[in-house]
Amino acid sequence: MARFAAKHLVFLLLTLFVVSFLVFALNEFSPGDVARKELGAYATQDQVDALTKRLRLDRPLLVRYAEYLGKAATGDLGYSARFKAPVKAVIWKHLANTALLAAIAFACIVPFSMVLGILAGMRESSRLDRAILLFSTLMASIPEFALGVFLASVFVVWLGWLPGTATLVAGGGWSLSAQLVLPVAVIVLFDAGYVISMIRASMVEVMQRPYIRTAVLKGLPFYRVILGHAVRNAMINPITVILLQINYLVAGVVVVETVFAYPGFGRMMLEAALFKDIALIEAGALVAVGLAVLTNILGDVAYMILDPRIRA
């Protein structure tokens, strides 16, 4: 068990290093670029060189990277040019907003997709299964922004029940919860489409297994066969997938955030990238990948808990 944890910790650190280095290198490879981005497009070459020298950007890449890591370890992630504030504060604020959205969405996605996936998979090719399959395929095929546009056109333009933006600014007359309904709905529908099909596939496979036949022929009522025997086996594989959705919920929802003007982490990264705000890009990438590896580890742990064959 300890070896398992150690192995994964090593992997986490390795991934963090590799990715952050790649991002760092990408942005700061040529010293002149950094200074130029600071000064803007109209600076003269002399000004760029002077700034380069002043910021000691002409040192080798690895040295600068090491220095960056050192500072990051102490919590100093630099200053955001776009938001005009320390990077740490900017990230925290946006991450908190995203966390709110992600938590609500995750809390909806998991039970929703589990129930539908199990109902679909337990009787393959039944009418319920075909309906759920169609639904989930449809949902997974409509891009988030299109889903947002469709839902908005119904609930905002036509019916007027919900606001069209979710800037989290209370002033517009819409409560916080009303603002969150549409973004959450879009995320849940889109993501659930994918997760439902995974769970359904796993459930269908489990239902073909001989031990389900044994359970049925023992005379167990159908609900017991499903709940007692099938579900636990069927969830072993999808668990990792479900946990990986957390990554999507944190960064991948940039589209939803853009549609509804929600000040979240993904949108922050987009603006940073468009603005070439290097410090923010690097720090944001670090956070994103750290979270990704953490969820990977969580997934493996969950797998071990669910499947006694792995524990041996």
Partner: protein, 687 residues
């Protein structure tokens, strides 16, 4: 007259194709079968005959594609084909219980064994947890599982195959069902484990009142357990009757044919070649009018046999023996057919073509970042040799190392100790990549599983042609003739070259695999369980083919098998392996007769005999195999040997006693002592 527990009346079952365009195919037709309370009926047939379908239809578990299209299934008076779901659920598990073929797959891997057992009384008898637990523990004792308390907390993957099957049997019997259906319960288990399970079933029959429907493809297995036998062919019952009558005087040509192709322990190829059933099993949708067996029957009479469907009728006035053959009364009394052929002598011993000396193989599993390595010893100190035109058989159960031995000979693995010589050349450390073309040509392999031995994406012609190209360096344009010639050698039509493997039957695929191996005209063919996955009648044909090819080409055959009857029939010499060592080696008639190694003795005792009267002394090996990393210091068999003499067996490796004719036994007990102890063994050697 005991009452009728189960009556199948004119039962017909059909599967409809999964594609919209295909219609329904009848897989069971007009079956009439009766089972009385407390009786054991064996239902026997080859693959595709519908026996498992019949079993599953009784509990109405045919899946989406199958349905009952005619007839009735009367169980305790009610027609199971039409009862409602709730009643059916009440019957399943409680009045009718089932035991399956693959016990590991039939148990829920994430639930403890105890909970799976306890579910049955808790659902059917509404027992509380404590009462259910007590009953489960009692049942585990009935099926002879040691330490029931500990077993209850285990997960299925932590138990051996034999233990798992006992659990499944316990789960079936815990509700005291009136009918126990056993669907190939011992197929896939090692022969000693099978013997133990069959023993258990026999004992349980004395104590419980359940009737048993025992499904198997192996006539010999049912002979020892059942009171009556029914034989199925292509969805129809062709014969049924008391077990003794079926074996002593079968009346249907198919039953006779089956008995003719069974190798038994007393026969070998020189005395009495196997007689396979001619022709091929036709696919289920091809239906001739008249007898379903007519296309392959040696006694067929056009007109009588081929115009009208043949009913199952009582033979000779005996209501208990029924035969579906119009000529049944005209056939002579059954005598086991002996093929016509001169009894040829065993070829004289010659210089060995392939041999191993002190061969050892250790598998190391290394973790790339860790320091710990686990080593598993698969072979130790193996000395074997096989000469030209001879067949050396390697026999043993799972874990004995025979597959590893095959891989080392073939070069798929390399030896870690000792030597392997092929026609004089030392090849032990040469993996197949390192061997030159000549060496590769000289030794080829035939594998076990016909479904994975041929690449499903290549035609037959491509597969064989590729072998010709690589082993004989033929030019690509020149292959067609060679392919046709090889197909002929294995008795396949040259048209087969254009077919894909999925269009071939199991037997045909194995023939193609043999043709592929012969492409280079090898000196040695290593056959790793080549017939284990085939039906009995097909087995016989392939075995005959191998014998013929050996005689024609002078090939040395290294034949690996777990089936002692086939080995007795086919081999000149045999090596019995246990846990990676050679327990006994020698000419086959000497090894299979006293004096023999205690393990050989147990193996021979475990082989089900196709003779209901032969119930000689049964030796049941107690205890599981030692784990590969816990090998005993002394004799590897010491932990389970029924003739263990004392501490010397645990501590000291046994000496190799050399007897006459190259016969060797690795045992502490002197050979003459063994001969004396084993003199009472009845079944060995007799025909």
């Amino acid at each position: 007259m005991t009452d009728r527990l189960l009556e199948l009346q004119d039962l017909s079952i059909a599967y409809h194709g999964l594609r919209r365009r295909r219609g329904e195919t009848r897989v069971v037709r007009g079956l009439d079968l009766t089972l009385h309370a407390g009786e054991a009926l064996g239902l026997v047939g080859e693959s595709g005959c519908g026996k498992s379908t019949v079993a599953l239809s009784i509990v109405r578990y045919l899946g989406r594609a199958g349905r009952i299209v005619g007839g009735r299934i009367l169980f305790e008076g009610r027609d199971l084909a039409t009862v409602d779901e709730a009643t059916l659920r009440g019957i399943r598990g409680r009045r009718i219980a089932m035991v399956y073929q693959d016990p590991m797959a039939s148990l829920n891997p994430v639930m403890t064994v105890g909970r799976q057992l306890m579910e049955v009384p808790m659902i059917h008898d509404r027992a509380g947890a404590a009462a259910a637990r007590a009953r489960a523990l009692a049942m585990l004792g009935e099926v002879k599982l040691a330490d029931p308390e500990a077993v209850m907390e285990r997960y299925p993957h932590q138990l051996s195959g034999g233990q798992q099957q006992r659990i499944v049997i316990a789960m079936a019997l815990i509700a005291e069902p009136a009918l126990l259906i056993m669907d190939e319960p011992t197929t896939g288990l090692d022969v000693t484990v099978e013997a133990a399970v069959l023993n258990l079933v026999r004992e349980l029959r004395r104590r419980i009142d359940s009737a048993i429907l025992f499904i198997s493809h192996n006539l010999a297995t049912v002979a020892g357990v059942c009171d009556r036998i029914g034989v199925m062919y292509r969805g129809e019952l062709v014969e049924d009757g008391p077990v003794r009558r079926i074996f002593s005087d079968p009346r249907h040509p198919y039953t006779r044919g089956l008995l003719d192709c069974l190798p038994t322990l007393g026969r070998d190829k020189r005395q009495a070649p196997l007689v396979p059933i001619p022709g091929q099993l036709e696919p289920p949708h091809v239906r001739a009018s008249g007898c379903g067996f007519a296309g392959r029957c040696a006694d067929v009479e056009a007109g009588r046999c081929t115009t009208r469907p043949i009913p199952l009728a009582a033979f000779d006035g005996e209501a208990t023996h029924r035969v579906a053959c119009v000529r049944a009364a005209e056939l002579p009394v059954y005598a086991r057919r002996r093929g016509d052929g001169a009894v040829s002598a065993r070829p004289a011993a010659a210089a060995p073509v392939v041999a191993t000396e002190h061969l050892g193989k250790v598998y190391e599993s290394r973790r790339l970042l860790g320091r710990r390595r686990r080593s598993v010893r698969a072979l130790s100190d193996v000395d074997l040799a096989a000469g030209r035109r001879q067949t050396l058989a390697i026999v043993g159960e799972s874990g004995c190392g025979k597959s590893t031995l095959a891989k080392v000979l073939a070069g798929i693995e390399t030896a870690t100790e000792g030597r392997v010589s092929l026609d004089g050349a030392e090849v032990g450390r040469l993996g197949v990549d390192a061997r030159g073309r000549e060496l590769k040509r000289k030794l080829q392999m035939v594998f076990q599983n016909p479904d994975s031995t041929l690449n499903p994406s290549h035609t037959v012609g491509y597969t064989i042609g590729r072998a010709l190209r690589r082993l004989r360096d033929r030019a690509p344009g020149d292959l067609a003739g060679g392919v046709a010639r090889l197909l002929e050698v294995v008795r396949l039509s040259p048209e087969m070259a254009a077919r894909m493997p999925r269009q071939l039957s199991g037997g045909e695929k194995q023939r193609v695999a043999i043709a592929r191996a012969l492409a280079g005209d090898p000196d040695v063919v290593v056959a790793d369980e080549p017939v284990s996955a085939l039906d009995v009648s097909v087995q016989a044909a392939i075995i005959n083919l191998l014998t013929e090819l050996q005689a024609a080409h002078g090939t040395t055959l290294v034949f690996i098998s777990h089936d002692l009857s086939v080995v007795r029939y086919l081999a000149d010499h045999v090596a019995v392996m246990y846990l990676g060592t050679v327990a006994e080696l020698g000419p086959v008639e000497r090894v299979f007769a006293p004096p023999c190694h205690p393990y050989t003795e147990a193996l021979l005792a475990a082989v089900p005999a196709a003779d209901p009267d032969r119930h000689g002394p049964r030796i049941v090996l107690e205890g599981p195999l030692p784990r590969p990393d816990e090998r005993p210091r002394g004799c590897p068999f010491a932990t389970r040997c029924p003739r263990r003499v004392g501490a010397v067996c645990d501590d000291t490796p046994p000496p190799v006693q050399r007897l006459a004719d190259g016969h060797r036994i690795a045992c502490h007990i002197p050979a003459d002592e063994l001969a004396r102890l084993q003199a009472s063994l009845v079944m060995i050697g007799a025909s």
